[in-house]
């Protein structure tokens, strides 16, 4: 169990590191020393979501950060975090965050605390519904 967890964590770290790239499930499965099917199943059992969903949240977390710390356009941010379609990005963002990228940007800037913790705590949850958002 512990060895499998550690290998899966290594694969999850690889998703975090290469979030701009398409999900390379075969490669990640090899990092975890599992078959493709076993990797997806074990990842979901261990972390509570599929690798694809984890990648989506990682990308959206980076997008949230860029929207609130830069003046880059929504399209730019969409491409920067690894989406190739603005429509898919906006739809995914809204589904996960509960509001559109533009509306989210209106919430203002974030404080300069260590980025890794910001990422960890601002990453939108996959384990519940998008929260109700009040006006910014």
């Amino acid at each position: 169990m512990e060895d499998t967890n550690r290998r899966l964590l290594r694969a999850r770290d690889a998703i975090d590191r290469r979030y701009r790239e398409p999900l390379a499930v075969e490669h990640l499965a090899s990092v975890a020393c599992l078959s493709r099917a076993a990797f997806i199943r074990s990842f979901a059992a261990t972390f509570g979501e599929t690798p694809h969903r984890y990648l989506q949240r990682r990308r959206i977390e980076r997008a949230m950060y860029l929207l609130r710390t830069t003046d880059r356009s929504v399209t730019d941010v969409c491409m920067e975090v690894g989406f190739s379609s603005l429509g898919t990005f906006s739809r995914t963002f809204t589904e996960i965050v509960g509001e559109s990228p533009s509306r989210f940007r209106g919430r203002g800037r974030v404080d300069d605390v260590p980025s890794w913790f910001v990422g960890r705590w601002t990453r939108p949850s996959t384990f519940g519904e998008a929260p109700e958002r009040g006006d910014p």
Partner: protein, 139 residues
């Protein structure tokens, strides 16, 4: 009221493996390695910093029952209860290259942040370690 933070603790699964990683790979030094009978008190520190030590503790009886220790080990290895250590360096990019050449697990590569340049690694057990070259804060 206080003078310093003198000791922090992270869980490790194997203290010999932890010793090798934190000293030979990461470049810290042993502060204390003592068999207390009921536990092995193993601490490391940054060379030149005698104040702050990190206790590398193995979860298990009698500090906790075996069932709890199993839970801790499971959470540790999937990164969910892993401790976080923050180390500083004069040159984050050079340190990164050194650690990469030693085969350390990288979580993210050096990137410039508002407060400095930092990157992340994991120890063999799942603990997250951040290493930063911090910018000077204007007085």
């Amino acid at each position: 009221m206080y003078n310093a933070i003198s000791r922090s603790q992270v869980y490790v699964l194997d203290q010999d493996q932890a010793l090798y990683f934190y000293v030979d790979t990461l470049g810290l030094e042993v502060a204390t390695d003592a068999d207390l009978g009921f536990m092995r008190w193993l601490t490391v520190r940054v060379p030149g910093d005698p104040v702050r030590e990190i206790l590398l503790e193995r979860p298990g009886p009698p500090a906790m029952d075996e069932g709890t220790a199993t839970q801790v080990r499971e959470l540790l290895t999937k990164g969910a209860c892993a401790g976080s250590l923050f180390l500083t360096t004069d040159d984050a990019r050079a340190t990164f290259e050194t650690l990469r050449s030693r085969g350390v697990d990288i979580t993210d590569e050096p990137a410039e942040r508002p407060y400095g340049i930092d990157f992340g690694i994991r120890d063999p057990f799942g603990n997250h370690i951040r290493i930063g070259q911090m910018f000077e804060v204007p007085a």
